[in-house]
């Protein structure tokens, strides 16, 4: 019975050699990408420069410092706040767009994908210009309109950090919750209604409890993302003197001499917290699978008639788009067209394209753009190909240890980018392979970080694919490689492409690993933006940010267009 549901028993007998070779290669790759750097991180954190042997001195140093506990509570508050904000916004949006008859819901759907593309570094900088106490446009506007003497908002605060990060993560929650709502059998709610439950009671007693596993795992993922985020803590947290784990690790390595001991032991601490989160997440999703009531087919959910509430709901959507998409983009556009930044309407008379010329003429820009593109394309390709094979092994074969492969490929979801970079630095200190400061080490870091996304896309798609399709190919005389190439890949194509685009975009956005790993020859666009911002060249930053966002939108749009004409459409 288990055979019918899952693994194909043909897999092994039909491929005597590749049946061992390919899984072994995949396992080696995974060990090199995940277990090795993590071991080096732990080992490195147990060493002190100039001393022999292992010691707990670094931990004693760091964890006896009361500052570390402020760090811990800051990180925790920041991550929890971020998760709560992102989750409530994203869920409310998903419910309104997916389940009600709000006007223009289809159009809204397309627009929500835009903030997914915007790099965290860009949105963080935009919020500095919008809501900083001294120079924030929103503050100036409120002060002028309401005659206030003090700015009503201050982005340089814990609340400001939560606001910027929570908004940035909310579109991700939106997508997750839309998926969860579509996977829900509408007759579960209809059964409640025909049992006499009114709409609000149905929402409370049936809809929300059934969405609970998705909500809980979404909350955990957002918590982890908040914990490991770098842009907001570095650009807002450091000036605001709200240190969190990531900003502290970054500063430890920026100091002279570099404090590897603190960075390592803080990194291990952060890793431990997020590992607990990931473990808990794993438990929740397993429970969610038990909850799943059969099929897995997409449902057309019932839409709730909002009546006169349609317009307030629409207003909520429009306000969200203004805050998350329109205002950040406009403020950056405004700043990018100014010779210097003063938040005043008078500046509209001094608009200039000079910043764009400066940015485009700078040799670093071109180099960074080339590097980013090269990195994103290779990362997306390697990550999707690697995880397609691993997903196949996990879903289709009955190899002992395939669960471990699954776990290893998923593990990096809990490794903060900054911590991974520290681990890779430790690794390169121990094994002097000359790749430090090259694009190769960046590809290694990116592939490791984004493997979990590829894994999730590919294994979900693979589970949908009936194993008899491959067995039919094998029965027709096709080898494993031919079957994979001619049957599996074409059928997985739509999700491969979707996953590829996603990994491409997040690779271009990547900053928290790059910031520690780039050298002058391997700079990437996100790093250049970060660097310019730190050195105070705000107008150039804005121009570069606008260019980056526009080109990402164009690239994603084009890729989706082109790819929709290739391959088999998912039925």
């Amino acid at each position: 019975m288990a055979t019918a549901a899952r693994g194909a028993s043909f897999a092994l007998p039909a491929l005597p050699r590749s049946g061992v070779v390919i899984p072994a290669m995949a396992a080696t790759f995974l060990l090199l990408l995940t277990v090795l750097p993590l071991s080096m991180l732990i080992l490195g954190s147990l060493q002190v420069e100039g001393r022999e042997g292992l010691t707990l001195a670094n931990y004693a140093n760091v964890y006896s410092d009361p500052r570390t506990y402020r760090l811990l509570s800051n990180s925790f508050l920041y991550a929890v706040g971020t998760a709560v904000l992102a989750l409530s916004l994203g869920t409310a949006l998903a419910y309104i767009v997916e389940r009600t008859n709000v006007p223009f819901r289809r159009a809204f759907f397309a627009v929500t994908l835009v903030p997914l593309i915007v790099p965290g570094i860009v949105s963080t900088i935009a919020w500095v210009y919008l809501a900083s106490g001294k120079i924030g446009v929103i503050n100036k506007a409120f002060m002028a309109l309401l005659g206030l003497t003090d700015p009503p908002f201050e982005i340089y605060s814990l609340l400001g950090m939560i606001w910027a990060e929570g908004l940035h993560l909310s579109p991700l929650v939106f997508l997750v919750m839309v998926g969860a709502m579509r996977a829900m059998d509408p007759s579960l709610e209809e059964a409640a209604v025909t049992s006499g439950a009114r709409p609000l009671r149905t929402l409370r007693t049936v809809t929300l409890p059934i969405l609970m596993p998705a909500l809980a795992s979404g909350a955990l993922i957002m918590f982890i993302r908040g914990l490991e985020s770098f842009e907001v803590p570095a650009l807002i947290g450091i000036p605001a003197r709200v240190p969190v784990f990531t900003s502290e690790i970054y500063e430890a390595l920026r100091r002279y001499p570099q404090d590897y001991g603190s960075a390592g032991s803080l990194g291990v601490g952060l890793l431990a917290i997020s590992a607990v989160g990931v473990w808990w997440y794993g438990r929740l999703t397993r429970r969610a699978e038990r909850f799943a009531t059969i099929t897995g087919k997409g449902y057309r959910p019932r839409t709730i008639e909002l009546g006169s509430w349609r317009w307030p709901a629409l207003a909520f959507l429009v306000l969200y788009l203004l805050i998350v998409v329109v205002m950040p983009f406009l403020v950056l556009l405004f700043v990018s067209l100014l010779p210097f930044y003063i938040p005043s309407l008078d500046m509209f008379q001094r608009l200039t394209l000079k910043n764009y010329v400066t940015v485009l003429e700078h040799p670093d820009t071109l180099l960074a753009a080339r590097n980013s593109l090269l990195l994103a394309v290779s990362t997306a390709t390697i990550a999707m190909a690697l995880t397609a094979v691993i997903a196949w092994i996990v879903v289709r074969t009955r190899l002992p240890g395939r669960r471990i492969l699954d776990l290893l490929a998923f593990l990096p979801i809990g490794i903060p980018g900054l911590v991974l970079a520290v681990a890779l630095i430790f690794e390169l200190i121990s094994f002097p392979i000359p790749i430090y400061g090259t694009l190769i080490i960046l590809v290694v870091a990116y592939v490791t970080r984004y493997m979990p996304y590829g894994m999730r896309t590919n294994s979900a798609a693979m589970l949908q694919l009936h194993h008899e399709l491959e067995e039919a190919a094998a029965a027709s005389g096709a080898s494993w490689a031919t079957t994979f190439r001619k049957i599996v890949v074409p059928l997985l194509w739509p999700s491969l492409v979707a996953g590829w685009i996603y990994v491409f975009v997040v690779s271009v956005r990547e900053l928290s690993s790059s910031v520690l790993l780039v050298s002058h020859d391997s700079i990437v666009v996100s790093f250049v933006i970060f660097d310019l911002q730190v050195s105070g060249q705000s107008n150039a930053v804005a121009a570069l940010s606008v260019l980056l966002v526009l080109s990402l939108v164009v690239v994603v749009g084009l890729t989706q267009r082109v790819s929709s004409r290739i391959g088999v459409k998912g039925g």
Binding site: L188, E190, A191, V193, T194, S195, G196, T205, I294, T295
Partner: protein, 374 residues
């Protein structure tokens, strides 16, 4: 006393594949305590009709009335949660986050008239006993088997003692043996409780077995309504004859005392309005066709060749080629017939009633493996 009246119901809907269909002017009445079935192929509008009765869809026109209360129509629309009914869904819709007890107790706890907890316990136990699930109160719902989920869904629909029970293809997700058993139990339960019931199915066997009355639906309308016997014996349209049971269609010009078919004349009785020269249709059920190895020179006897003779235990399923026409017949299992031999088929005149030919032809029997559609 509960009598359901549906009059001139209209509703446009999109099918699962995205096409637009409509329920147009559906009218019927379900007498108190009767088991009424809407039977038809997918997309015929039967489920939409049921969902309108439940209030899950808002009809565009027509009225739905339970006894004297207008549920829908005349500018009124009672929301589903205020309708006195119980419904069983095709997927059962058992709430996975509740145990068996809480699933069944739900309707007693959310309705307008709340019951005390002692009352709730008593009625849940009664409902579970009714469907044979007593003792499973504390079991988490996802741990139930398909058959148990189905019973649970039924208990939940009945626990409020509603005036109307709605069932949307409740047996279609069960395997054949279990479906057979649930069919019997459902019939007994309905007859015992005497609850007015509307049932939706595409399975003609279920419809005939369970119902007091059956409405055959096609393209958004009811094409024939009657007792199972009437529906099977005297189909009023080609579609109804084809959909309910197996049949051989003989079409031809109406002649004196019969129709011109099979290279001769098939004698049959004729409705009064069908005159010689018009197109007539004769629908023959397989059990009413006699197959013999030798001719007996009786009326309506035709010679042919035995194409298929398949042993099915309680009968022999035969397909006989008479000229170009394939005739389906059912013979006693002891009859010795061999594939390819010459046989004679007889259509006893008392079973032959012609109707006006509306052009409908069954897809079931074709000589080649052409298109194979279910």
């Amino acid at each position: 006393m509960a009598m359901l009246t549906v009059a001139s119901l209209r509703k446009t809907y999109t099918t699962d594949r995205g096409g637009v269909r409509a329920v147009q002017g559906v009218s019927f009445t379900v007498e108190d305590g009767r088991f009424y079935t809407l039977l038809g192929p997918s997309g015929c509008g039967k489920t939409t009709t049921l969902r309108c009765i439940a209030g899950l869809e808002r009809p565009e026109g027509g009225t739905i009335q339970l006894d004297d209360e207008v549920l829908s129509g005349d500018g009124r629309f009672v929301p589903p949660y205020d309708r006195d009914l119980g419904m069983v869904f095709q997927s059962y819709a058992i709430w996975p986050h509740m145990n068996v007890f809480d699933n069944v107790a739900f309707p007693l706890r959310v309705g307008r008239a709340r019951a005390t907890s002692a009352e709730v316990r008593k009625r849940v136990e009664e409902a579970l006993a009714l469907v044979g699930l007593e003792g499973l109160e504390d079991r988490p719902a996802p741990q139930l088997s398909g058959g148990q989920q189905q019973r649970l869904a039924l208990a939940r629909a009945l626990v409020r003692k509603p005036r109307l029970l709605l069932l949307d293809e409740p047996l279609s997700n069960l395997d054949a043996k279990l479906r057979e058993r649930m069919r019997i139990e459902l019939r007994e339960l309905q007859r015992r409780l005497g609850i007015t019931t509307v049932y939706v199915t595409h399975d003609q066997g279920e419809a005939l077995f369970l119902s007091h009355r059956v409405a055959v639906m096609h393209d958004g309308g009811i094409v024939q309504e009657g007792t199972p016997r009437e529906i099977y014996r005297d189909p009023s349209t080609g579609f109804a004859a084809d959909f309910v049971g197996n049949a051989t269609f003989l079409a031809g010009d109406v002649v004196e005392d019969g129709i011109a078919a099979l290279g001769g004349r098939v004698r049959c009785s004729m409705p009064k309005d069908l005159r010689p020269g018009e197109k007539g249709l004769l629908v023959l059920r397989p059990e009413n066709v006699v197959v013999r190895g030798a001719p007996e020179r009786r009326p309506n006897e035709f010679g042919g060749k035995l194409e298929i003779a398949a042993f099915l235990g309680d009968h022999l399923d035969c397909i006989v080629a008479v000229g170009d026409t394939l005739v389906r017949a059912r013979a006693h299992p002891s009859v010795q017939l061999r594939r390819g031999q010459d046989v004679w088929v007889e259509f006893p005149v008392e079973h032959c009633v012609a109707m006006r030919d509306d052009g409908w032809r069954p897809r079931a029997l074709q000589r080649s493996f052409g298109e194979d559609e279910e």
